[in-house]
Assembly symmetry: C2
């Protein structure tokens, strides 16, 4: 609570990064040190894979339900990949932000651009690898893709890094702890940006920015 009794609005944080950069690990680290951050789970119409849980990896919904969400304007952004829908619920996010809770979105470059368009105050962060060589090493060490797939991922990473210039912040993922720490610093800094603190000045000087 503030001097004027107003509660601060939560921050909407959008995190993107190329495949293999270590985004999931950074997110896990972030959420473990800031348990009050709400991690927005995407909605999808695709079938759950082995080990995936509803409400954890995705909210799994029917095609019919997803189309209803589109029609009712409930989605902040959505896209169709290989016949399946993927999207972010605006309704859920808005509720959290209004309660003063910070919300973290893990979405791709196109999704991030749509979010920024609809929600200019969103804080967009792109996680970059220290170098393409290091990204290649990380992709190889995962042991999940063959050489051809890795080459495709590296090519896509190069393209995404080019598009990353539209993000507010670029965070180099040298180590998981340092990258998560930097993102927490960005969050702390963003909360101190003057437009978000005007209510505080009002509380001190009285009235609308002191224009009594």
């Amino acid at each position: 609570m503030t001097p004027t009794g107003k509660k601060r609005r939560g921050e909407l944080i959008v995190l993107s990064g190329p495949s293999g950069v270590g985004k999931s690990t950074v997110i896990a680290e972030l959420l473990s040190s800031r348990r009050d951050i709400y991690f927005s789970v995407s909605f999808t119409t695709r079938q759950p894979r082995t080990g995936e849980a509803d409400g954890v990896n995705y909210n799994f919904v029917s095609r019919q339900e997803f189309q209803r969400m589109i029609a009712d304007g409930e989605l902040l952004e959505f896209a169709e990949f290989v016949g399946n829908y993927y999207g972010t619920s605006l309704k859920v996010i808005r509720e959290q932000l209004e309660r003063g809770i910070d919300v973290l979105l893990d979405i791709d470059v196109q999704g991030a651009a749509k979010v920024k368009e609809r929600c200019a105050e969103a804080v967009t962060i792109f996680l970059i690898p220290p170098s393409l060589e290091e990204l290649s090493r990380r992709l190889h060490s995962r042991n999940t893709d063959n050489e051809e797939v890795i080459e495709q991922r590296l090519q896509r990473a190069r393209e995404e890094c080019r598009e990353s210039t539209h993000y507010d912040y670029l965070v180099v993922n040298e180590t998981v702890v340092s990258a998560a720490g930097t993102i927490l610093s960005i969050l702390e800094a963003e909360q101190c940006r003057t437009p978000k603190r005007l209510y505080f000045i009002d509380g001190i000087v009285g009235g609308k920015n002191g224009q009594e």
Copy 2:
């Protein structure tokens, strides 16, 4: 050093705040945890007070020397109070920034506005008290001013708080450690702002933002 071999430029941080807010203590805390920050000492033509050391509290110079600095465009900002000049050396600051060293300036609201005008990338931070009541308590506990002077300082604080809306960030000085920590977070975040990281993207994708 970066992938392209370029060194990052230092950040110019401008810190202001009303009398009694605890700015000097916060600065001392900042400088003790980040010994690589260069604290810019102002130049003045006024006489040193007891306990003040040249090069520490101020750089004490003659009126003639100060006027030469003005004439030679060596000052980022300057002002005259009660017959004495006070100013900030642009030359010294520029040298530090180019070497990649962060520079901290402790100047008033008018000085900060002039710095921002000449140096748009400067990061301006205004330190605010948790409330005017708390500021009044802090001013009383210093035991240095009489009631009339304290009342004047509070009136001035109210005016400065109104002008603080021109700053990039407002940091509430609840405790010295938390305020210094927040300023360090702001510094870390600012260094990740995309325009300051484009060289990194160049290093990854090759050429000017990857437009090979």
